[in-house]
């Protein structure tokens, strides 16, 4: 593995460490176990949503439907479970499958009908939002069942359960991206769908699978987040649209696809969470936080597109040199 290819990921971790040190200076106590633990828990929610988003973005797409896939899973779980643990046995698998199914619909729209990913997933997001509003009538829902609350805020051997879940998912995602045929196909499709197609890559299956995964992780995050907030509420998924994409971008993936890794996204999720914790310490409002978020993603993505511009300026030069006109 050469260093240059992973520079973006290393930079993300470097940025995270600098940010941590900076925070410990302005807000002593930030590095306390308690605070670090809560930072990891909050980062886990972003990280889980951003897992599917990472796969979709590497594959050359984007998933804007995560907010309401997440929100729908949260609302439906509390409604169906009625604060009881027992029904979760069927509700959790059902909602995970439903989330995956929504993702598959996204993937089919993109891969089968050629709908641009932004349009397809945005439409699905709005449809889900409308559906949930109609279904609930905007009324508050029941509290989350105790088992779900345990997953989100409980601890095993001192580790928050949700963070342990995140670690397991991160290992699976890393194996998929680095070791599996699916991962290889995904990078190929994201780099050039045409070259992938010409090379016999199953582009259709690969694309659909990436979106399916994203629907799955969004639904999972929705249920876990409900355990954390103890209740599902309308709009709870909205922050995750931005943070899931930003985590991927900060983590070093090209927003145009074909590069990046979930290992980078983990750093991206942590950076965003630390930023969120830092600003109140500086007595900045949540409005200021949004501004900082926006600037961070703008800087990250423009750095990435600068790299792209220099590459695309470089290629025609090569072309001129190597192919004399016929």
């Amino acid at each position: 593995m050469n260093l240059r290819r992973h520079r973006a990921i290393l930079l993300a971790y470097l940025g995270m460490i600098v940010l941590l040190l900076l925070t410990s200076v302005v807000a002593p106590g930030f590095l306390s176990p308690t605070h670090l633990r809560s930072t990891a828990v909050l980062a886990a929610f972003i990280g889980i949503v951003a897992l599917g988003q990472t796969f979709v973005i590497i594959g050359g797409g984007i998933d804007l439907s995560v907010p309401w896939v997440l929100n729908s899973a949260a609302v439906l779980m509390t409604l169906l479970a009625g604060s009881q643990d027992a029904p979760l046995v069927w509700i959790v698998p059902l909602l995970l499958a439903a989330g995956a199914l929504v993702g598959m619909v996204n993937g089919l729209g993109v891969a089968l009908f050629g709908v641009p990913p932004i349009i397809m997933t945005l439409a699905v997001n709005v449809i889900l939002q409308g559906g949930i509003l109609v279904y609930t009538g905007g009324a508050p829902t029941a509290t989350a069942p105790p088992a779900i609350q345990f997953l989100a805020v409980g601890r095993v051997l001192g580790f928050p359960v949700v963070v342990l879940i995140w670690i397991v998912l991160a290992i699976i995602a890393t194996i998929l991206l680095s070791k599996s045929a699916f991962g290889r196909y995904l990078y190929a499709v994201g780099t050039s769908a045409t070259v992938a197609e010409f090379s016999g890559v199953p582009t259709f299956r690969t694309t659909v699978l990436a979106y399916t995964l994203s629907g799955f992780t969004a639904a999972l995050a929705g249920m876990l987040l409900t355990g954390y907030t103890a209740q599902a509420y309308l709009g709870m998924g909205d922050p995750y649209l931005f943070t899931s994409i930003a985590a991927v971008a900060i983590g070093g993936a090209s927003i145009l696809g074909g590069s990046g890794h979930y290992i980078g996204t983990i750093a991206g999720a942590l950076v965003l969470t630390i930023l969120t914790g830092l600003l109140p310490a500086l007595n900045l409002s949540s409005g200021a936080l949004l501004i900082v978020y926006g600037v961070v993603i703008l800087v990250t993505v423009s750095l990435a597109s600068e790299a792209f511009t220099s590459l695309s300026a470089f290629l025609p030069r090569l072309r001129r040199r190597q192919s004399p006109s016929p």
Partner: protein, 340 residues
């Protein structure tokens, strides 16, 4: 002053003469100086007062139109050149037919092709740009629809897409025209490019085996003498010739024994060209069947066993032996009156 550069080349064959008719009707206005660039000899004859022939970026001849015949112009276009670029060509074709096309066609750009490509044969394909050769190669590879019947190694086969075309002992592999946009993942490594079509060969329960992959990659890099620092070097940083070798390697790792080479030497250095020609003959000797289009006629003449000439989306003729010459190819490709 009006410059028309291949202004009619994108028009279908049924629009032949559209330029001549326009000029006959008095367009453009009298007094306009027109520079008319075309590969359609007949058209140039009808329109131009004087004809200038370029070759390799230099003027080689200029005539008044009524003073010159087609043969002279073709000779000027060819020039004379001798080199040892080309390997010995021993006929290795067998009687076994690898690809049999009957009434094969695609869209509006290719029709009524009857063609047999045999085991051990390099079958050249020639034609002026846009006369159906691209469609022939793409349709055989499952890109865009196709009409007519295709038999591969004696069995009827419908090729629905590249993935299916590449699969199995009866597969077909393509070296595409556009190396950068169709052939290679420029920002991925040589290794990943080489094995992209054969990931299943070193995958078990969905997971790749790096050792088995490395073995395939190392063997292919050695066999084709691909000059890369390491297999992890990005494909986009290789020279054009080595990029093309990576595409060949990707193709040769598949089980396909029918190779579709679309202008494989375009824009690459002379040394690598020679290696590619030698490779083609070696593969033919091993029983591969090779369909070979080149925009450089000399390559077809010197490397292919036979040359199928396309004109106006149809098969104009098949040239072999003494007839397989640049002059005959150009005549067949350009002169409309020469019937198939």
């Amino acid at each position: 002053m009006l410059i028309l550069d291949e202004a009619t080349s994108a028009l279908g064959p049924q629009r032949d003469g559209v330029a001549a008719r326009a000029f006959a009707r008095g367009w453009p206005k009298a007094g306009t100086l027109v520079i008319y660039i075309s590969h359609r000899l007949g058209e140039v004859r009808q329109i131009a007062d004087r004809i200038t022939v370029f070759r390799n970026g230099a003027t080689v001849a200029a005539y008044d139109t009524q003073d010159v015949d087609d043969e002279t112009i073709i000779a000027d276009m060819l020039g004379r050149r001798m080199d040892r670029l080309y390997p010995d060509r021993k006929p290795t074709a067998t009687e076994r037919v690898a690809v049999r096309l009957r009434g094969f066609g695609a869209g509006h750009r290719l029709a009524d092709i009857d063609l047999d490509l045999r085991e051990g044969e390099v079958l050249g394909v020639a034609g002026m740009q846009g006369h159906g050769q691209r469609e022939l190669f793409q349709a055989l590879f499952g890109i865009g629809g196709a009409r007519g019947t295709v038999e591969i190694w004696g069995k009827a086969k419908t090729i629905r897409g590249p993935r299916q075309a590449l699969t199995g002992r009866d597969g077909l592999a393509l070296v595409p025209e556009d190396r950068r946009n169709h052939g290679l993942l420029l920002s991925r490594s040589v290794r990943e490019n080489l094995t992209l079509s054969v990931i299943s060969r070193f995958t078990r329960v969905g997971l790749t085996d790096p050792k088995r992959e490395a073995k395939l990659v190392d063997e292919m890099i050695a066999a084709l003498k691909i000059k890369a620092g390491t297999p992890e070097q990005l494909a986009g940083t290789l020279s054009g010739g080595n990029q093309q070798k990576v595409i060949f390697g990707k193709m040769l790792l598949t089980e396909a024994r029918i190779l579709l080479l679309y202008d494989p030497t375009r824009g690459i250095d002379v040394g690598t060209k020679g290696e590619i020609f030698q490779l083609m003959r070696d593969l033919a000797a091993k029983g591969y069947a090779i369909l070979f289009y080149s925009s450089d006629l000399a390559e077809l003449v010197h490397v292919a066993d036979r040359v199928a000439v396309l004109r106006n989306r149809r098969l104009a003729t098949i040239l072999e032996g003494e007839d397989n010459s640049e002059r005959q190819i150009l005549r067949a490709a350009m002169i409309e009156t020469r019937a198939a």
